[in-house]
Symmetry: D2
Subunit: 135 residues, 4 copies
């Protein structure tokens, strides 16, 4: 289990005319959580890779319940699994103790000239394995 967690304060302009936070804002929050997780991971293994070497291949979001303006949201990375050239990040968002969003993003690691998909550096693989996040 990863321990990565961060707080997101909903912004008024992220609401829509239905009175709740719009789905596109939630996709944007997921990027915020994902990149913060990745940067904290890379900071623990300095020199191995940079955040800009990861590109988003796919995104899946389940809107479990509405999210509202006025209370903080907690975004937690509940799992980070490394494949050969990919990193799958599972994220859960909750507000007032209720899960509102579940998301899964697949990132591909690029390396070498031209930026081709490449095996995820061993140090990152071992780091996540040691935390038990990788499976």
């Amino acid at each position: 289990m990863s321990n990565f967690s961060m707080t997101i304060a909903p912004r008024f302009y992220e609401t829509d005319a239905l009175g709740h936070i719009n789905n596109a804002a939630i996709a944007a929050w997921f990027e915020v959580a994902r990149i913060n997780f990745l940067e904290s991971l890379l900071a623990e293994e300095p020199g191995v890779a940079t955040a800009s070497q990861w590109v988003l291949a796919s995104l899946h979001i389940d809107f479990v319940a509405e999210t509202f303006y006025g209370s903080d949201v907690t975004a937690t990375v509940t799992q980070a699994r490394i494949g050969n050239t990919s990193l799958t990040v599972t994220c859960e968002m909750s507000q007032k103790g209720q899960v509102t969003v579940r998301g899964v993003a697949v990132l591909v690691f690029l390396d070498g000239p031209g930026g081709r998909p490449a095996p995820v550096p061993v140090a990152l693989r071992q780091h996540l394995a040691s935390e038990g996040t990788s499976d």
Copy 2:
């Protein structure tokens, strides 16, 4: 096959520091395509339902290739399938003849007091079936 298709002109602020259109902007475009499709569908069966009766339950996006500022994007609804209380909308985006994005959204139909999931009106089901979009 649905014939619904629309043009989206990428906006400069939708780019990010990697020089391409950011994934959150693409999630937002998908809402634009989905709602335009839904509104055009509902306009063909007036009085049956309103756009605000549909809520987004899930979103899946595959980023097949980068999208750039400077050329129009075509968003096409390639399939619209009706379940019991849901509508699954499949969308493809392309730029300069190349597919860049594939997305699937599941919408749930709400009706009655309190807005509970309810069976999709028969008229919409028949309409989509007659177009061959529903399968």
Copy 3:
């Protein structure tokens, strides 16, 4: 001088292809700072007014220097002046100790049936005067 100040962490999707934070994101941050300031002000004089009674009449932003992804931004309300039916909020943003943005927003206070411009409640006027923010 008002003491209202808050931290904004730039988000990656708020950058644009020029490599800095896009101007539209900064207009959005200004709303975040303005509403947080207003909510903290209203919380100190409970029952007098609600945040939704204020509408934005005008916005002026000077982009003094570029803002970048990667370091926190401090947004400070440096002045809040009350007119007859309006509140003028001056805000300064800085990053790494350098001022990057100066903004002025004029909000109009609405009250009564139909929400017409109305005199700003005396309690708010006195509150800001006592803080010396109003001049």
Copy 4:
């Protein structure tokens, strides 16, 4: 008078919980109108300058009336004035025949190594003068 005009279809995610288009979306639309105007101007004097040589120095927006989802907005550049190193673009937006937004943006022209403010190319100055937009 400039003749530059474009249509913007409000997007649902650009609304906020007050039921109208949020001010930050309008700041973003102003960028769309400004850049489209600039690109059309530069296209008429090829080779003289590129859009990326202009940076936004300031932005002023008057919110004259609410803008809503559901009808197209027309954005018109009503004036473009060239100073020594700057271009001041005045824009008006209207919906259903009513002016909703008036905006003024000041752009600075950058040239040479390091991108310093530089005199606006004579060809652009003459072009705008001949159209009578410059004064």
